[in-house]
Symmetry: C2
Subunit: 206 residues, 2 copies
DNA sequence: GTTTGTGAAACGATTCACAGCT
DNA sequence: AGCTGTGAATCGTTTCACAAAC
């Protein structure tokens, strides 16, 4: 089952959200065409995406909404909760800590770190901001699945190395730099400046 | 020059950041290989990316750092400033308003809207939060290039239609929904839940 | 009759490899 | 000799189209 395109996984995640909506509206079955329309893609694309993982539909009928949702949750690894540490208690970090979607989707923030003495010791959503020196100690003390990096660009690589050194295998990176990590570590970078620049490109070239 | 892949544009934006670094270090020329290494890609990729827009290098030598940087700024449409409105003065909105990278890269936030009476009238980084009812009026009064949407999911589509109705052609969307807009409007969606789910997928399937 | 699941075809992006310039 | 610029080859993804299932 290896080697499924990133674009496919992202679409699965979208489909799951649509299924949740459909389920909320009491819809029982859904066709690949209906999912496609909601997601701005084609029915063939939907079926192909799903086909990498099995065949979940009934011909002539479509997919049972709750069943397909359940399958997708399983495929995406959402049948469990994840323990997440946040590194950087600045503006974006603070917004993320309070973001409901995190917890709702199964991601629990279990520690927050910063190196600013003014922030260390303050309370964020029930968690005390810890000094960054305590990073290794805390990662050893509690099992952690992911790190969210919200540090300045200069600090990001070194922090990444420290969390990777403690066995963390997934990083969500908001620092505007390209992180260098071993092959068995997954990094997703969200780079705002880059998104803005693709918009400015699109506005310019029309 | 039409029809350049999104992935190409994103890489150009990365290269530009590397060139800024190189320039800061006083490096005068740079090879496609050097840029490639910094960006985790290949020299052929770098040259192909640039070749869509012209030939900026000298054979046997590489590229003049300041010249190539200048060219990339031009290609990406960064030779001017953009006027941006922010819609939604919640946690993420507030973090974004204060984010330095916005202004640094040429994007000026010129108005902020919300529908929460508790927020309307408060000051955000020198701007007064306006009631969302004033949206059309303000968009008419001042030329605006982009809208950043930081509303709840339910509100996003309707707000998008309102800004598009006033002629805005670019939207940066942080609401976790798929926006439906006319073909001549560009939307970039940053969907946190989706990024988290690709990470969880990656952690699960190894 | 409807809709899935999937090989095959079409399309698009990346990599190769080398001729041509400096 | 070194490095770019670019057609040609390769690889990966999306779309087509239809037989099989209900």
């Amino acid at each position: 089952m290896r080697k499924v395109a990133d674009s496919t996984v992202r679409r699965l995640s979208l489909y799951l959200r649509f299924l949740d909506d459909f389920e909320g509206q009491g819809v029982e079955t859904v066709s690949s065409e209906a999912l496609a329309q909601r997601g701005g893609t084609t029915s063939a694309q939907v079926r192909k995406d799903l086909s990498f993982f099995g065949s979940f539909g009934k011909r002539g009928l479509g997919y049972y909404v709750p069943e397909l949702a359940q399958r997708l949750r399983q495929i995406l690894g959402l049948g469990r909760r994840y323990r997440v540490v946040m590194i950087g208690a600045g503006k974006i970090g603070s917004a993320l800590v309070q973001y409901r979607g995190f917890t709702q989707r199964g991601f629990d923030i279990v520690a927050i770190f910063d190196n600013d003495p003014a922030k260390i010791g303050t309370q964020w959503n029930g968690l005390t901001v810890l000094p960054i020196d305590r990073l290794e100690q805390e990662l050893k003390a509690q099992q952690v699945d992911m790190a969210v990096l919200v540090t300045p660009g200069e600090a990001a690589q070194s922090v990444a190395e420290r969390v990777v050194g403690q066995g963390v295998k997934a990083i969500l990176n908001f620092a505007p730099v390209q992180l260098n990590v071993p092959d068995d570590v997954v990094v997703k970078t969200v780079n705002l400046a880059l998104e803005l620049e693709t918009l400015s490109y699109a506005l310019t070239n029309r």
